[in-house]
Amino acid sequence: MTDLTKLTLKAAIDGLKARDFSSEEITKAFVANIDAANPKLNAYVVQTTDKALDMARASDARLAKGEGGALEGAPLGIKDLFCTDGVQTTAGSNMLRGFVPPYESTVTSNLWADGAVMLGKLNMDEFAMGSSNETSAYGSVVNPWKSKASNADLTPGGSSGGSASAVAGDLCLAATASDTGGSIRQPAAFTGTVGIKPTYGRASRFGMVAFASSLDQAGPITRTVEDAAIMLRSMCSFDLKDSTSLDVETPDWTASLGKGVKGLRIGVPKEYVVDGMPTEIQALWDQGVQWLKAAGAEIVEISLPHTKYALPTYYIVAPAEASSNLARYDGMRFGHRAGEAKSLTDLYETSRAEGFGKEVQRRLTIGAYVLSAGFYDAYYVRALKVRRRIAEDFDNVWGKVDAILTPSTPSAAFALGDKQIDPLQMYLNDIFTVTANLAGLPGISVPAGVDSGGLPLGLQVIGKALDEATVFQVADVLEQAAGFTARPDKWW
């Protein structure tokens, strides 16, 4: 019998519908994998096995009657950023340890409405602040991949490291993730999986623990481009409970697959060639260009002149919003509260000092600083202006190109502990991904090759706002051309 946990989401859904196997069977198979792997990979912070089996049986009952939604019976992992009714939600933070929301996020509600099964909550960088999953209060997630050169544990990337590791390690069919500066696409690239961040406003932020409101977007991490199209469709919806939600139709993006790229114009931005970029990354990018050209696309060199300001802009805007969004964690109504305090101020300070990890504290401090009197104009207002310029850079090229191709990350997965001492080095991980967040554009990472150590590398496709269709169209061609079939050797 085939290993059900290695199926693509699409194959699993088809198999479930055809009654080749039951949801209970595939769910149990994943539970067994998680039980075995989690002590090593640390991808799940909460397992909801009983709930999963209940949901699976309910799905089986619907499937038996020929009913069921688009994801009926498919076991998924949920990033711990999404509030789940009755299931602990902590955003990877001690601040929220023990917090059980009495409500469900819109994104996960949509998944359950489509029949999906929840296996549990996935580890992540604390409050989604990190690029290596090392800031999680539950400890780092470990990448299922290992370099041929070393036995060192590698990062799965972040902040959706648990989601990426779980999908790559066969611990779920697909996972929800979120992306504020690259938190879907970078971990996808590091784990040989597909990750898409849709247009800002496609997926509701209601019930998603906020990091930076104007940048946060939910999206999936999956094994294939087709799976990403299926998952994303289920996750997105117009939501009156989120004022920034877009009142647009959610199309069937699987219709984009197999269309090819003949006649499409693909932009290659010269500013994405960065200092010290490994030759393997440049080579992968060149390869991607060749694949698309060979498939009939027109390659256009473009300029996005404000690219170099994107990372500094991001590290002003995101911490500023975070410093305000995270003010609610004050020890008063829920979450961690200091045991002893001499005064109200002391209670606030001690609760927050104990509850938040170092990276979160660093960003909250930066955020409070850039918003403070006397610095607001110089930092925050200026950053907003630059952000507008970055968005205009994209607006200016859309007349000439239909999508943009870049590497997903400046390197393959690195060893855990490698960059923790230097936050600036860590922040560089987002250099290719952060522009799409600042401009609100859709971006996908597709596994396209491996480095010399056999580690996966990803290519990124960025599209126009609300034009995920073209993004999927290009990603599909890259996926076919790359024929990426490498899987991590099971060592856990």
Partner: protein, 498 residues
């Protein structure tokens, strides 16, 4: 503003003048909060009107209440102010247990309503204008309760997230009386519009008063140049919630500032609280201690864009505002400005007047409404809206006077009976036999008897005509006060040969 309104205060070293600007916080009349669907209302138990959004739970997002926006626009139109087609919500960040999210959503940079002007009636019947700088929407905070336990404080979030309109005036107010008159006028306008219930006891309308003092002439220099350095340093007195306290707080604060300056000191810009029990203002925090609120645009909310057609529609459906009503009452009913101002100060009173005045002597109706009816309500601690007396009764009472069925004097007696619930004025007149005696035969008979019984007094009247008053009194006494006074006078004059 006219010069005559400027009140000067005498100090040891000369004269001083007051300059004030007010920030009025008016709770928007709305069934739901500004950014959550939670109910707003009085009388609910602690924390019964709190949604997860109000309590700042993770992942909760604000969604703007359209009705509150409409109320703000309505209020702006009532203040003759510019409605901004594009406005924006900002976060004001600070930590306090009554503020669950750690920030208040307000409008610092781009308020929904811009500049306007309000015409205010002064006590002497003159008018002065107060410029409105802005009106913006913001959330109220919750309430801390400290007196339930010696060791714990409690938080009630029912009020958290309730919509407030903050109305900021220009520094155009020059005396405690003007400040009170201004707040009264704003309150009346909002109540006419139905955008705030004006209940100051419940804190639904309260004011922050910015007070400074300067030497005569300085204010005019400020007005000419717009340069605030001509004015004194201001102190802000927070959250004053009655007309009396507003007046008292300003008077105390002005004295305090003048004494400091005259003693060679200088005023520190600070926030102060008025303590009504001690009758003084106390420092809450200095400028140095002032919090850095780190305002920035709320990324959870898109800029608010209004359509001109929607605003025009609201404007077209505005109720009659106090100023218009005052002018109309004067022209339509021939009332004096004073009477009109008294009537419009309360919409229910003006409506009551208009109902009673149909086809009647409006001046007479106005007198009854503003004097007897108002006095009774005040004595019983009732609002005009709670008036138990039907307007038709006042109308009938006035009709009885107009048609000489009763005299004005008897009318007061009739009113007493009517107020006590004995029926309509006509029924009361009937029941108590209070109808005015206009039968000249009956009056003549009484006059004859009195003259016959008092020949000496009758003779004296020829010398001293004003002594006729004594005879009038006797006749009224004999007729139980019901004789038509004009008829009595005529008959007496004839019989006494005057």
């Amino acid at each position: 503003m006219s010069e005559t309104n400027t009140k000067t205060i005498k100090g040891r070293t000369g004269e001083w003048e007051l300059v004030m600007g007010l920030e009025i916080h008016a709770q928007v009349a709305s069934k739901a909060k500004l950014f959550s669907g939670a109910a707003v209302g009085f009388g609910a138990g602690p924390n019964e009107q709190v949604s997860l959004v109000d309590a700042g739970f993770p992942g909760m997002l604000p969604t703007l209440n359209r009705h509150c926006v409409e109320q703000a626009v309505k209020s702006g139109l009532g203040l003759k102010a510019k409605i901004n087609l594009r406005s924006q919500f900002d976060r004001k960040n600070y930590f306090y247990p009554d503020l669950p999210t750690g920030y208040q959503i307000s409008q610092l940079f781009f308020p929904i309503v811009g500049e306007g002007v309000v015409e205010v009636e002064a006590e002497d019947g003159s008018f002065f204008n107060v410029g409105i700088e802005r009106l913006h929407l913001e959330q109220d905070a919750g309430k801390l309760i400290h007196d339930l336990s010696p060791t714990e404080s409690f938080v009630d979030l029912n009020r958290a997230g309730t919509a407030l309109m903050e109305i900021v005036s220009r520094p155009d107010i020059r005396s405690p009386e003007e400040a009170v008159a201004y707040v009264k006028k704003i309150r009346t306008i909002l109540m006419y519009l139905g955008t705030c219930d004006g209940d100051m006891e419940k804190g639904n309308l309260r004011a922050d008063v910015n007070v400074s003092v300067c030497r005569p002439g300085q204010y005019e220099k400020f007005k000419a140049t717009g340069d605030f350095s001509h004015l004194g340093t201001r102190c802000e007195i927070k959250n004053v919630n009655s007309f009396r306290f507003i007046s008292q707080a300003i008077q105390y604060e002005a004295r305090r500032q003048i004494e400091i300056i005259e003693d060679g000191g200088k005023i520190d810009q600070e926030t102060r609280l008025y303590d009504p029990t001690a009758g003084e203002t106390r420092s809450m925090r200095s400028k140095e201690e002032a919090m850095d609120y780190r305002y920035f645009p709320d990324p959870d909310l898109l800029p608010l864009e209004l359509e001109q057609a929607w605003i025009d529609d609201i404007r077209a459906n505005l109720p009659e505002l106090p100023d218009e009503k005052r002018r109309r009452l004067m022209s339509q009913y021939g009332l004096s400005q004073y009477d009109a101002v008294v009537l419009i100060s309360d919409q229910a009173k003006a409506d009551y007047f208009e109902e009673a005045a149909k086809g009647r002597d409006a001046k007479l109706v106005s007198n009854w409404v503003t004097n007897e009816v108002s006095a009774r309500l005040t004595a019983e601690g009732k609002e005009f809206s709670e008036n138990p007396l039907p307007a038709a009764h006042v109308a009938q009472l006035v009709e009885l006077i107009e048609t000489n069925v009763i005299s004005s004097k008897i009318a007061k007696e009739v009113f007493d009976h009517v107020w006590n619930g004995e029926g309509s004025p006509a029924e009361v007149v009937e029941k108590h036999g209070l109808k005015q005696v206009t039968d000249t035969g009956a009056i003549e008979k009484a006059v004859d008897e009195i003259i016959a019984a008092n020949p000496d007094k009758a003779a004296a009247v020829a010398e001293k005509p004003q002594a006729i008053g004594w005879f009038v009194g006797q006749v009224m006494k004999a007729t139980g006060g019901k004789a038509n006074p004009a008829a009595v006078n005529d008959i007496l004059k004839a019989k006494l040969g005057l």
